[in-house]
């Protein structure tokens, strides 16, 4: 790989972006679609397809499953150029995050060939049915059942806290297939088409008032036997792979996770700039908040934690690139990120004072109510993808070897 070739690629990517980014992108005149809307989903789908067709995404998967194989230096150049401008995100899908990694490890050959390419290209979106009303973090409590009937399985039950639920074409599903088998041996994983009769979904409203998550209902839904992933009774292991993949996203967040998804935004070295600006622009009792060392200190602590996350994410990404599985380390990143989000949300609201009450839709809201939304939404961060408590157990038992 000569540096001339890389420079040529850089120019190519730059030109392509100029050509293909949405009209007005990067200027105030660009109005992004509403979060979680169909429009936002479609934009992500189309954008991913465009990138995939020209070879700018879909890395880290073998060619036979639709992966785009490029030298690491080229990938770095592509990411750098996209990072410079920022790009739209992907479709509302857990495909890249959960489904593709799980299928790659546990799927049959036909499943890999059928599903992974369309995930990489953004054409098909995925969700995952994992949590249940009475299960939480404990897979032993899964109540959804799948009963064999000839070449099919008949699924009944309910899943909650399904993210990316609304536009998913396909879903992953863990269900109890052997009611009498011991824990870790009684579950199986299925890939199911969301247009199957007997499947329905509805929004689950969270404390911030939004419905980012959904509930899914299975009422005699039939899934072909060939859509089972891995062997019967091995669902626990598939779930672990899927969870690990999800958690490493929750933890590496921007630097790792977004890179893995093929989208990159711009980043500033001092990641707490938004907080600094807010503090400079906010007066409490006539005095700029930024002049109070109590706030300066906490804002800078946030900046430090963001940098620490960035470099820990980089170390993790380097490991992944070398092929070392990150495994239980994901729990470290996930917890830190989740708890940092809560601290940051609280700090933001403390800076805002009385204005911290204004939510989205309020005429007096600062930043259109996003600050308050973020604070509220962050309460879920320490619960979803394994509670902070579960992740600390994992760190203590699996990394440090403390007794169960």
């Amino acid at each position: 790989m000569t540096s001339e070739n890389l420079e040529a690629l850089r120019r190519e990517v730059r030109g392509w972006l100029r050509e293909n980014l949405p009209k007005g992108w990067g200027t105030p005149e660009y109005v992004p679609p509403i979060r979680y809307s169909r429009e936002s989903h479609e934009l992500g789908r189309e954008w991913t397809k465009k990138m995939y067709d020209v070879g700018y995404t879909g890395f880290n998967y073998p060619k036979e499953y639709g992966g785009i194989e490029r030298p690491r230096e080229e990938v770095a150049v592509i990411y750098e150029e996209m990072g410079r401008t920022g790009t739209p995100g992907g479709p509302l899908s857990l495909g890249l995050l959960v489904a593709a990694p799980a299928i790659l490890v546990h799927g049959e050959e036909w499943q890999k060939k059928r599903f992974i390419p369309k995930i990489l290209s953004g054409e098909e979106s995925w969700c995952e049915g994992f949590s249940e009303p009475d299960a939480g973090s404990d897979l032993a409590n899964v109540q959804t059942t799948a009963v064999r009937d000839g070449d099919e399985w008949v699924v009944n039950g309910q899943k909650v806290w399904t993210s990316m639920w609304e536009f998913a074409d396909w879903g992953l599903l863990v269900a109890k297939t052997e009611p009498d088998a011991p824990r870790h041996r009684n579950l199986s994983y299925f890939l199911f088409d969301t247009s199957t009769p007997g499947f329905s979904r509805r929004p689950l409203v969270q404390m911030s008032g939004e419905a980012e998550f959904g509930e899914m209902f299975f009422d005699d839904m039939r899934v072909p036997h060939k859509n089972m992933m891995d062997e019967q009774g091995r669902g626990w292991y598939v779930a672990m792979t899927a969870l690990m993949a999800e958690r490493s996203f929750g933890g590496t967040g921007f630097s790792g996770g977004m890179a893995a998804m093929g989208g990159l935004g711009t980043s500033d070295l001092l990641g707490a700039n938004a907080l600094v600006e807010l503090a400079k622009n906010t007066k409490r009792y006539g005095k700029s908040v930024w002049e109070e060392s109590a706030f300066r200190q906490r804002i800078m602590q946030t900046a430090i934690e963001l940098e620490a996350m960035r470099w820990s994410g980089t170390r993790m990404a380097a490991k992944m690139m070398k092929g070392t599985p990150i495994g239980n380390e994901a729990s470290v990143l996930k917890n830190f990120q989740a708890e940092m989000r809560q601290r940051r949300g609280d700090l933001t609201c403390e800076i805002l004072g009385a204005y911290s009450q204004m939510v989205r839709g309020s005429t007096r809201a600062v930043d259109e109510g996003d600050h308050v939304y973020n604070m509220l939404r962050a309460r879920g961060a320490t619960i979803e993808m394994g509670t902070s408590e579960i992740n600390r157990n994992i760190i203590a038992e699996r990394i440090l070897g403390l007794p169960r």
């Binding site: 404990d138 969270q206 404390m207 911290s356 009450q357 204004m358 007096r364 309460r379 619960i383 600390r392």
Partner: protein, 379 residues
């Protein structure tokens, strides 16, 4: 010597209040009011008047029961526990008290019995653009014109402004060197021409806030409460009492969260055992309990100090407000976390307390502000 345990009378008041609110203000009522454009129920208000709550601390000659401030806080604990929506503290402490302590005989005779009977619901409008409770924040002007004053400008963060009969408005009537000087309190009839009250759409829907715009509203000089230009000290005194009452509400709310969380931890199982048998859950609950105990100590001290007109009352209230505010927030954080997914849903009641904790913390100065007040006292 300070008495910390409740008297027999106070115990009765507490039991009665809890029963009353469990019947009259269940969470279904709270949620209904959250969607209501006014945000509280006149029907329930009347019932509260009937059991004597609205005149509780007014002298008998004005239709009250002549009970003391500590008695009132016993009630406030239960209101906080029930998340009672409506301008109770506003009506009784922020408007009623200034009338009682600074009003003329005519004003007392006219308004206090109406407040006690539930026929006059009130709120206070002080905060403006900067959102801070301090004299510099009062910029809205009132200009004399004959026997009237013309009020012009906008107030923000006004609780339940939409459904009340009167708003006590802090207005600037002259500009002086000291910001405290030149603030006058006007009791404004909300049916006057020129008042516009759009909602603010705030996080805590159990205690709705509004913007109030006065478009050249005329108020007769006879509606001034207290002396002309000297309203701030009256307001400060009323705010002190309200802040202490708010602490009682916060302790009451926090105790609901603790009890609900402990019960959930006993019932909900994971990995085959109640989650309350996990040591980390236990210790979080223990911390919630401990923080609430210390909150209670400071809150009761503040209430007693106000009741006794203690010279340390300001300090006690600042200490209680900052400690109770921090505690209520962290207790709710733990409450949501221990409940897990269900605690994060709209349908569970936990988030109502979570949000009430945060709106209470910012009201009348947050923990940071009150600690700074204490520091200034020893500067």
């Amino acid at each position: 010597m300070m008495e910390f345990s409740l008297s027999e009378e106070q115990e009765m008041l507490k039991t009665m209040a809890r029963d009353f609110l469990e019947n009259e203000c269940p969470k279904t009522h709270v949620r209904e009011m959250m969607e209501d454009e006014v945000g509280f129920s006149r029907e329930l208000w009347k019932k509260m008047a009937d059991v004597g709550w609205l005149g509780l601390v007014f002298p008998e000659e004005y239709g009250g029961s002549g009970m003391n401030f500590r008695d009132l806080t016993v009630l406030c604990e239960e209101m906080g526990r029930a998340l009672l929506p409506g301008p109770f503290l506003q009506t009784v402490l922020l408007v009623g008290m200034p009338i009682l302590t600074a009003g003329t005989d005519e004003q007392k005779k006219e308004y206090l019995p109406k407040i006690a009977s539930g026929d006059m619901v009130c709120t206070l409008a002080v905060l403006e653009e900067d959102g801070d409770f301090w004299p510099d924040g009062v910029q809205l002007k009132a200009t004399q014109r004959g026997n009237d004053y013309i009020i012009n400008g906008t107030k923000l963060f006004v609780n339940n402004a939409k459904g009340v009969d009167y708003i006590l408005v802090a207005a600037r009537t002259r500009r002086a060197t000291e910001p405290e000087d030149g603030i006058t309190l006007f009791l404004v009839d909300t049916t006057e021409w020129g008042i516009y009250i759009p909602p603010l759409t705030t996080m805590d829907q159990t205690r709705q806030q509004f913007e109030v715009t006065f478009n050249r509203v005329a108020v007769p000089a006879s509606n001034i409460i207290g002396e002309l230009h000297k309203g701030w000290s009256v307001l400060k005194e009323a705010a002190l009492k309200t802040t202490a009452a708010l602490c009682a509400e916060m302790v009451g709310g926090g105790e609901w969260v603790l009890e609900t969380t402990v019960n959930y931890a006993k019932e909900r199982t994971a990995f085959g055992v109640p989650i309350g048998s996990f040591q980390v859950i236990k210790h979080k609950c223990a911390d919630m309990y401990s923080d609430l105990e210390y909150s209670r100590s400071l809150m009761e001290w503040a209430a007693e100090a106000i009741k006794d007109d203690d010279r340390d009352a300001h300090m006690a209230v600042s200490m209680a407000k900052s400690y109770c505010g921090d505690t209520y927030k962290i207790v709710c954080d733990h409450g949501v976390q221990i409940h897990g997914g269900i605690g994060f849903t709209w349908d569970h009641d936990m988030h109502l307390y979570f949000k009430r904790a945060r709106s209470s913390d910012t009201a009348f100065g947050d923990a940071y502000y009150h600690r700074e007040l204490l520091a200034q006292a020893v500067d």
